[in-house]
Assembly symmetry: C2
């Protein structure tokens, strides 16, 4: 039988367990031109919280009763497809389910001998691409500039900071708790960390960004965005990658009251969606694979197991309990 | 005697009359290399409200007891300067006063035979340059795109809209009251106007921007910025020119809660300061002078008279009582 996690209702605030319904259904059969994939790992991303709101966005909302949308990596176990043979590993939007049938559109082959499968959901997948294009294309960091990153121990933030180091920047990360702060400085090579749970972010920015902020890569929104805006330099770039502090808000989104700092500093705040860079994914993956092999780019995956644990795993995106890329093993 | 308007104290909220002190002082005498200028017209600009706050900005705050900072245009009536002879008309930061002595640095000659003097404070001065560079360099409008402008009957907004029309855009202005709305559509050629005092701006944007907003040129901030953000297109540009609705706020600046629309639409919000374009002012002035002569660029000046009326005139920047460029005749 197939095991599927369906969206049962639209949550208000932090999703509760009854947001999802786990069902068993017959394993789907591939038709001519299709493959049956057995998902090995499911990617968990903060963006998923946005996908279940009934709001205009860059992708349509997941429908009530539909399989929860997610990226996944899996293996072809039955094929009526001209190119993808049984045994091929593919990456795509497989959803939170054990088995998925697809005609292969939007799926890409990955090689489990070159890298462990979860890495194709992290550094060598959408997460890595988000860091790579968000920082390099939108943030445009120059050597010697100061790059501040929130959510710095998270999947995207941790890669973003390392790429900024590779590009010769001073890199300061904001993360929650001493373990995450130690990790990004000692293991990943950030120049400094600010522990937002145990110290003043305002004072931390003042101390660790003595020359101001040239690029602020924002994963969190809220008060931290405002504190960063207060210290941006002339012609600074604020990269809007996410706003995890706001996704479960029941009182509406809090806008950055310091936004006029963009005006007086001739600075810009700009959003991006990684999907727009699809044509350059392979170039980015190659470059990042080289950095990984050269020991310049490290990553951690936090792997939980079992589709029945989807809800509790999903909550770890927001509770701060995990470090690095969150993945669910099927 | 010289008549000067000094900053007497830092206002909280909308400045009251005792924010300023009017004094009579001896007419200053030019030294070697200097000129004595008799100001003819003083420019009144919303940015002046920011200059009297004690806050880090793109120019230092006006000091308590100092002459209030303002752009002005006047005539040299005494000269010990190698180039600027008596009778030369100059434009510069002359302050709110009748007479000013300067070594000429930051002053530029203007020709009263080519255009009336107030125009050098408006369309052919900083106001026009603000519209020109803010729209063209930051907003980057393309033919056929929709440009939405707030404060559209104001000094900057009215020029911005006409330049956007010259560039082949659909131009929609937001202004307060039927007279201003009639003016920007019937006299200036905007495609449509939204009267924020008498109709729903949200509904107006929906009606008049049926293809969404590609460039939003913001002079006002606050709720209207949020309503515009909700309707921006993919890759839209939000130009931060000002935030007049917020300048006198006593409860802090209201940040745009819809800022994540920048993220999902891969859009940017960017500030600018016209001073950065100083090297290109003359090119802009030439092009705008040609548009004026071709009848494509019109402007209105609202002229009040007498330095003793500075305070009541200043308040007209915020009360919505004026149309076009506000100028005080000395």
């Amino acid at each position: 039988m197939n095991q599927q996690v369906l969206l049962a209702k639209r949550p208000i605030g932090l999703p509760e367990a009854d947001t999802w319904q786990i069902v068993e259904t017959p394993i789907p059969q591939p038709q001519e031109g299709e493959v049956l994939i057995e998902n090995a790992y499911i990617s968990l991303d903060p963006a998923m919280r946005g996908w279940i709101n009934d709001a205009r966005s860059y992708v349509p909302p997941v429908k009530i009763g539909a399989v929860m949308r997610a990226a996944s990596v899996g293996k072809v176990i039955e094929s009526k497809h001209p190119h993808y043979k049984v045994g091929t590993h593919l990456y795509g939007t497989g959803g939170v389910q054990k088995y998925v049938v697809t005609n292969g559109k939007g799926w890409h082959p990955v090689d489990p001998n070159l890298a462990p499968l979860p890495l194709y959901l992290g550094t060598l997948g959408m997460t890595g691409f988000t860091a790579y294009f968000g920082l390099l294309d939108v943030g445009e960091p120059k050597e010697g500039e100061t790059v501040l990153i929130s959510g710095a121990a998270g999947a995207v933030g941790s890669i973003t900071g390392q790429i900024a180091k590779i590009k010769g920047c001073r890199v300061v990360g904001i993360a929650g708790g001493p373990e995450k702060c130690r990790y990004i400085v000692e293991e990943l090579g950030f120049d400094a960390a600010i522990d937002y749970k145990n110290e003043s972010v305002k004072a931390g920015i003042k101390t660790h960004c003595p020359n101001g902020i040239d690029v602020y890569f924002d994963n969190v929104g809220g008060e931290i965005l405002d504190l960063a805006l207060a210290k941006i330099n002339m012609s600074a770039r604020v990269v809007l990658c996410g706003a995890i502090s706001q996704y479960n808000s029941t009182s509406g989104i809090s806008g950055p009251s310091n936004y006029l700092s963009l005006l007086v500093n001739r600075a810009r705040m700009e959003g991006f969606i990684v999907f727009d860079y699809a044509k350059d994914y392979s170039k980015a993956a190659q470059e990042m694979a080289q950095w990984i092999m050269a020991g310049k780019l490290k990553s951690k995956e936090h792997i939980e197991e079992g589709l029945s644990n989807f809800h509790s795993t999903f909550l770890k995106l927001f509770s701060g309990e995990k470090l690095g890329k969150l993945v669910l093993k099927c």
